[in-house]
């Protein structure tokens, strides 16, 4: 049996979330959580593998107790069991520490895993780092932004689009993939699956002590990344009225806005000598 581990994250459901217009930040205390959309694609890819092969899927998430909800949802969709890493000391971990904590969990709780699947990024931080860092920490092969997988024995053949080229890759298991959001469209939650997930209650809650990890190596204190500021992008749209002789205006237009005009029309204006053309 193939042992799959899917790492998922609970993120705030932005559409349902009150926005503090004065500070420009999300009011996370009022947040409804959901499975990070990209993680749902990773889960779907695991479920597709399960349909084709004999697989067991463990879903892991790290977060506050309410993050258990995403594990139930994953089990309702077809995963077999869940692990919730929950400990106030784990809070505020950056991607490096998150990937180390996940690695410690997988090494101790799922040591005989064959494939780890992650989303390619999260909607609340967009770093896309946890998957690749996890592969590095566990010293296994990793491939990011995968759109298609085919398993032959212990060899995983994968496809991904990079810079408009379609790449085909192969790796031997065990390994890790991060799944792109263009394929593996997540299935809907079946209502009988939901009922079964809550009856089965196959979710383990693990804190740092149970994980056997040094508290100094987890959470915000151990994280080298510091968030200095969080702010909403400022809208900088403004109208500019140019006055003066036509030639000067055109020169100024190309000097100040040439790059943006090039980007808009898809043509590099720097190779084009407008002065000559005008004369």
């Amino acid at each position: 049996m193939l042992k799959l581990v899917v790492c998922i994250k609970q993120v705030p459901m932005v559409s349902e979330l009150p926005w503090n217009s004065k500070t420009g930040t999300l009011r996370r205390e009022m947040a409804e959580g959901m499975i990070n959309p990209a993680c749902k694609h990773a889960l779907e890819s695991a479920l597709v593998l399960k349909q084709e092969h004999n697989c067991h899927i463990t879903v892991i998430t790290m977060g506050p107790p309410m993050a258990e909800e995403v594990l139930y949802e994953a089990i309702a969709m077809g995963a077999d069991c869940g692990i919730l890493l929950t400990d106030p000391r784990m809070a505020g971990a950056d991607t490096l520490i998150t990937s180390r904590t996940l690695a410690a969990t997988i090494e101790t709780r799922c040591p005989d895993f064959d494939l780890i699947l992650c989303g390619c990024h999260t909607s609340d931080s967009e770093t896309g780092q946890v998957g690749p860092q996890l592969a590095e920490n566990m010293n296994i092969a990793g491939a990011a932004y995968i759109e298609h997988m085919e398993l032959n024995g212990r060899t995983l053949r994968m496809k991904r689009v990079v810079d408009e080229f379609l790449e085909t890759l192969e790796m031997d298991l065990p390994g890790l993939v991060t799944i792109n959001t263009r394929t593996y469209i997540p299935r809907y939650v079946p209502l009988d699956g939901l009922q079964n997930a809550f009856e089965k209650q196959d979710i383990k809650l693990i804190d740092a002590d149970e994980l056997g990890i040094d508290p100094k190596t987890i959470g915000m204190k151990a994280s080298p990344t510091r968030i200095l500021d969080v702010y909403s992008p400022v809208e900088e749209k403004k109208n500019v009225v140019m006055k003066g002789a036509v030639k000067k205006m055109v020169d100024r237009l190309f000097d100040e806005y040439g790059d943006r005009i090039s980007a808009a029309i898809g043509k590099d204006l720097k190779t084009h000598d407008h002065d000559e053309e005008q004369t």
């Binding site: 909800e69 939650v189 079946p190 009988d192």
Partner: protein
């Protein structure tokens, strides 16, 4: 007493909402206009167990609790009431009487096809001369050697045009007023069973409401649900259960109209301000939100009574009465907030407004609910 929705109920709502908004949302207006049953969406609902909500697992159902059930109906109806109606009638009055009163043979025979949605259920009580007065039913079932011969016409049958399994309320004993009626399962491939024209109704137009005709329709004794003469008892119990579903449906319509009104009031500018900045609109929204919350609490209480095995008839009647009447008030107010646009088919509130009215009429009119509630009140010892 915990008023916080549990994790399971939150997930049920989220899952049903995602499905309804993604699959029913884009077609809700069109299927209303064309009175079309969206088979392409229904097929997806079959595999997700929307047709087996409260059917036991061993027959292929989801066997979810009543609050989960009401939540699913509410979320479907928030987007498309006609399909919310299809699912609730199928599950409550279509399948539940078999779950509750059927023999194990009948359950094995009928429930798997109902749970999978292969056969959609209908409940046939209303006739030309029998609505609120179930005693006026004229369809009769005459006993013969191996079974019964059913003759009669049922009207305004929800799911009538697409039903595979109909529960038919028919007279089996003209003499005994308390034991006059019985309930039979009639499948749509039974000779003598036929479907009338789809009704051209004001609302709920995606639901294939029609007449059903029974002409010398022969069914075996194994198609009789409960005992001979149990019809009234089964019918009343089915309606108690059905009322939870219709209350949920009405609440979903109201919630949909309310959500649309909040969104519109923030977008619509008059006098250089969004209309949500005017106190009149704020008061409207506050009243709507309060009524919806009150209706939801009444509904969930009826659900929890049902799941606890307590009598829930009066609680279901109160929930149905209040939710259906609030749905009419709130959808009317939603049209008012939308102004002229609300009266146009371009906006969903016009459909919600038409859909809401019938929730005050079917599964026991508001007048009948008041009768049920007042009986419960007056029968209590002072």
């Amino acid at each position: 007493m915990d008023f916080n929705p549990c994790m399971k109920h939150k997930l049920v709502r989220k899952s049903a909402r995602e499905f309804a908004e993604t699959e029913l949302g884009p077609v809700a207006g069109e299927i209303d206009q064309n009175a079309r049953f969206p088979e392409e969406v229904i097929e997806k609902m079959r595999s997700l167990n929307y047709f087996g909500l409260q059917i036991p697992k061993k027959y292929g159902g989801a066997e979810i609790d009543s609050i989960s059930y009401a939540t699913v109906i509410e979320e479907l109806s928030r987007v498309c009431a006609g399909i919310g109606l299809c699912v609730t009638v199928h599950n409550s009055v279509g399948a539940y009487p078999i779950v509750r009163f059927g023999t194990s043979e009948q359950k094995k025979r009928f429930l798997p096809a109902l749970a999978s949605g292969e056969r959609i259920g209908a409940f046939c009580l209303t006739e030309a001369n029998a609505g609120s007065d179930a005693g006026g039913v004229e369809t009769n079932a005459v006993a013969e050697k191996d079974g019964f011969v059913i003759n009669g016409t049922k009207i305004f049958v929800t799911n009538g045009g697409v039903c595979g399994t109909a529960l038919v309320f028919a007279i089996t004993d003209h003499e005994n007023p308390r034991k006059r009626a019985s309930v039979f399962v009639v499948e749509n491939d039974t000779p003598g069973f036929s479907v009338g024209e789809i009704e051209d109704l004001c609302g709920m137009r995606a639901n294939q409401v029609s007449s059903l005709f029974f002409e010398d329709c022969r069914v075996s004794r194994q198609n009789l649900i409960g005992r001979l003469g149990d019809g009234l008892k089964i019918g009343l119990m089915a309606l108690d259960t059905g009322r939870i579903g219709i209350a949920a449906q009405a609440l979903g319509i109201a919630q949909g109209a309310f959500d649309a009104s909040v969104k519109y009031s923030k977008e619509r500018q008059q006098f250089n301000k969004p209309i949500s900045s005017f106190q009149t609109i704020q008061n409207y929204l506050a009243d709507m939100a309060t009524e919806i919350d009150a209706g939801r609490l009444l509904l969930y209480r009826a659900c929890s009574f049902k799941d606890a095995g307590r009598p829930f008839g009066a609680e279901a009647a109160k929930a149905k009465l209040y939710c259906s009447e609030l749905a009419s008030r709130i959808t009317s107010r939603a049209v008012q907030i939308h102004g002229g646009y609300g009266y146009s088919k371009e906006y969903d509130v016009e459909r919600y407004f038409r859909d809401a009215k019938v929730t005050e009429i079917y599964e026991g009119s508001s007048e009948v609910q008041r009768m049920v509630i007042s009986r419960a009140v007056l029968s209590q010892l002072s």
